[in-house]
Amino acid sequence: MPGTFASYLEKLENSRVWRSIFRSGRGTSTLHNALAIQQNVFLHLFPTKVRKRMLGLGATWYLGTLTLGTFIVLVVTGVLLMLYYHPSVPLAYSDVKDLQFAVSSGLFLRNLHRWSAHAMVFLAFAHMFRVFYRGAYRAPREFNWVVGVVLLLLTLLLSYTGYLLPWDQLAFWAITVGTNIASAVPLLGDKIRFLLLGGNLVNANALLRFYVLHTVILPLAAFLFLAVHFWRIRKDGGLYVRESEPGVKAKKTSEEQESL
């Protein structure tokens, strides 16, 4: 006799393989729900419990989540673009042109990468303004604000290093101007410019260095700081609740103790 879908699902979820991966097993008790979050390597960064109201649009406008969303879009489209792009002086410009005109969906992927990059900068700023004006940067969340500033800098550096890769006039002069700004650093300025460019001119070495920074070093740093950023939300007592909101202040201390 054929079973229902639910019974097959139950059988699967009770199987040894399933239980070896998802240890918490079946169940809808608070304990099961908490374990499902705690025992997942990705979800354990987040609090096991959140106030239902904090999941609504009004609490955060989802600005942080949307920033993460654009970052994920950028990683996926960026890796796909890397399959057709050579970071070399003779090929870089024509590869980008090929992506626009010869590669199937290349135009779509490149534009998605470009617009997501713009959106990520905008959303990161919007997220910071929201956090600032709500006062969510205050104790005990000061350190997470600092991590956020580092993430903003990484976002801007990713934008800047990606700027050179099309190797057109705009890219060349933008990086000429930008690295000359770096050379205004007292004493070390010219050395910093030399190390950034791998020479005295915006040339093959500079293109390769910016490519490696853009595709490896800065994204890895961003992943690292993102993980700390999310984990700190949990450690700092969950998403920020404004103390002036009714019914919050009285309960706050005991709840905060729990979520720590």
Partner: protein, 149 residues
């Protein structure tokens, strides 16, 4: 009195410190290229008599201006002293203008307006044995020391 445990702790931390300093030096040296495939600073600007009196000629490949005046020649760097963009000669204005942030210079390199902090540098200019005008882009000379002919 330093006991044995302190001694080894200090020895260990000291060695780690030396290793860390060595690592920084290693990275710095590795990231500074020793050989660069960059063009020579010395530019051959062609026959001197090809430049007519009163002309300002930009060579976009070497980013220099060659200026022919009544009694000689001089050359200026075409790289804006603000943030390194290449300037252009505007004959209708009798000025050198930077497209990036709007600095303007006269034909002697003196700033007229804009954010450029310094005038355009004068470059060492001479005539080779073959009669070609030569410019050394790495040799900045004081202004108004032009090549008299």
């Amino acid at each position: 009195m330093l006991d044995r445990r302190d001694f080894f702790t200090k020895l260990g931390l000291g060695s780690l410190g030396i290793a860390a300093a060595g690592t920084i030096a290693f990275y710095y040296q590795y990231l500074s290229p020793n050989v660069l495939f960059e063009p020579s600073p010395i530019v051959n600007a062609g026959r001197a008599e090809n430049y007519t009196v009163g002309s300002v000629t930009l060579d976009v490949n070497s980013a220099i201006y060659l200026v022919r005046i009544a009694d000689g020649y001089f050359s200026l760097s075409a790289i804006c002293t603000h943030l390194g963009c290449m300037t252009a000669w505007k004959p209708e204005l009798n000025q050198i203008a930077c497209p990036c942030h709007g600095s303007r210079f006269d034909r002697e390199g003196k700033k007229i307006e804009g954010p450029a902090p310094k005038p355009l540098p004068w470059l060492k200019t001479w005539i080779s044995d073959d009669g070609d005008l030569m410019v050394d882009r790495s040799a900045i000379i004081p202004p108004f020391q032009f090549l008299r002919v």
